[in-house]
């Protein structure tokens, strides 16, 4: 086979076949177009303002490393005027973070960015090793994911930073859309597609500038730019992806690569059907500014700051979510929910019943956006997921001590 030439410059040898449109590009053109597309996402969603201090949730893995590299490049090239900081979470898993934290430290030097590391121990009084000692290995990824979510917010707060960006990519978003579709949970599906999460009450805004970037292209970008990243599976997470939503996404991509962005777009379109949920999308389609969605349920799995949810983990998380919903159903104050949604200026509620979770046949009112009574973090329930999990853990510890 004669080597194909780049469809863009028509001089260099094509090395990349883009999953989104099958375009064959050379290395330099691919890097340029990848960066341009992230720039387009950032400007069309008006993610940043000049002078903004932004923390990059950094795990040393491919997604956050590429995010840091691209943001540094774009910040300089287009004069965003951002003050960029790397923020890393130490879950307290002996040995697991040693290498990845070393990678983040090197990234901090390579990108000339300050680095802040926050540990689960200082935030929650529990390291993940202690959690596993208490509850065993099963289901611990749920804890890790719930704790990680708030950890970035709390770390950002310590640094007095109001905006955290994460490396969630198109595959991550597609996976979440599929999982929520399988659960019949349109409300969560809608929130998961938002590029910006957090609302006026949350002190920290979160966004995902790589939302439309294929994981494949992120890995190729890292490879061709020779970025220094670290990859390992969390030692507590099950290693097989077979039978998981993630595995399904990858198989779909193999058959038809555009499937991933198609699922993301479908998720955004479905989000528009949810009353009061404002989906984000590229401003080229009309929106002025990406609307924020409450982010409390944007729970990642393990192994990174991204949601990785292997098979039996999915079942564990599913159970957890169902239990939370059961509690929520008892606690919810319909009147309050209605007045709150008016206060937040969201569009008039339509009479479309939105089911929440596992095919529950009752129509549930929109979740109340409030704050956790214990820790003060944004939560749709009286007590946030992290505090609920901590309560269980602390009871366990007390029992063990007796």
């Amino acid at each position: 086979m004669a080597p194909a030439l780049c469809a863009n410059c028509k001089t260099e040898r094509a090395l990349i076949k883009r999953p989104k449109n099958h375009a064959k590009l050379c290395k330099a053109c691919f890097i340029a177009v990848f960066e341009d597309e992230v720039h387009h996402t950032i400007t069309s969603s008006q993610l940043f303002y000049p002078g903004e201090k932004v923390a990059i949730g950094a795990s040393g893995g491919k997604d956050s490393t590429v995010l840091a590299s691209v943001l540094k490049t774009l910040n300089e090239r287009h004069g965003y005027g951002l003050d960029l900081v790397l923020l890393s979470i130490d879950e307290g898993i002996k040995g697991y973070r040693d290498d990845s934290l070393e990678t983040v430290k090197r990234n901090a030097a390579q990108y000339d960015m300050p680095l802040k590391v926050v540990g689960y121990e200082e935030l929650y009084g529990w390291t993940m090793d202690q959690v596993v000692e208490t509850i065993g290995k099963k289901g611990n990824c749920t804890y890790c994911g719930v704790f990680r979510r708030q950890a970035l917010d709390r770390g950002a707060k310590m640094l007095e930073i109001k905006h955290v960006v994460t490396g969630h990519n198109a595959d991550d978003v597609a996976e979440t859309v599929l999982m929520n579709l399988l659960r019949g949970d349109l409300a969560r599906l809608s929130r998961s597609t938002s590029i910006v999460t957090g609302d006026s009450r949350s002190e920290v805004k979160r966004s995902k500038p790589l939302k439309y970037s294929y994981e494949k292209e992120i890995v190729l970008y890292a490879h061709h730019k020779k970025l220094d990243y670290f990859s390992t599976e969390c030692i507590y997470s099950p290693e097989a992806f077979r039978g998981s939503a993630r595995g399904l996404i990858k198989q779909l991509e193999r058959v038809r690569p555009t499937a991933i962005l198609d699922i993301v777009r479908s998720g955004e379109d479905m989000a528009r059907l949810v009353p009061g949920e404002s989906p984000s999308s590229c401003a080229c389609k009309g929106q002025k500014r990406a609307a924020m969605a409450p982010a409390e349920d944007d729970v990642g799995g393990c192994g990174s700051q991204n949601g990785r949810t292997p098979g039996n983990e999915m079942a564990a998380m599913d159970k957890q979510l169902r239990e939370n919903e059961a509690n929520e159903g008892l606690e919810i104050d319909v009147g309050k929910a209605m007045s709150e949604s008016k206060m937040s200026g969201s569009e008039k509620q339509r009479d479309l019943p939105i089911r929440s979770g596992n095919g529950a046949s009752k129509a549930v009112p929109r979740q109340v956006r409030g704050n956790c009574k214990r820790c003060g973090y944004m939560s749709s329930q009286d007590i946030c997921q992290a505090c609920m999990l901590l309560e269980g853990l602390n009871k366990n510890r007390a029992q063990i001590q007796i």
Partner: protein
């Protein structure tokens, strides 16, 4: 070309990254002497290489992290001399001397 050279092996380098090095002795780069032809006498292809790596080089029993249903596991990228294997004929590509084949997983933490 004599029969002796035909029976010879093709020298190539094989790289693993993105977490796959775990399955291959925690080593990123391997020099491999690949038999020039497979059992049925056909020239060595990527498909043959994958099979060869599983039989001779993999140190980890979890072969399913590399191969599923006799094909490379979805989510693992294959680069042939830095080019996406989709541009080179995928499994049917015939291995040439001094080729560099990179297997990189996209499935590990981000």
């Amino acid at each position: 070309m004599s029969a002796a050279t035909e029976a010879a092996a093709i020298p190539i380098t094989v790289d693993f990254s993105g977490g796959l090095e775990m399955l291959f002795d925690n080593q990123r780069r391997h020099s491999v002497s690949l038999p020039a032809v497979d059992a049925s006498g056909k020239p060595a292809t990527i498909a043959f290489l994958i099979d060869h790596l599983c039989r001779t080089l993999m140190k980890d029993p979890r072969a399913e992290l590399f191969v599923l249903d006799n094909h490379i596991r979805p989510g693992i990228l294959v680069l042939i001399n830095d080019a996406d294997w989709e541009l080179e004929g995928e499994e049917a590509y015939e291995i040439q001397p001094r080729d560099n084949i990179l297997f990189v997983s996209t499935l590990h933490g981000g």
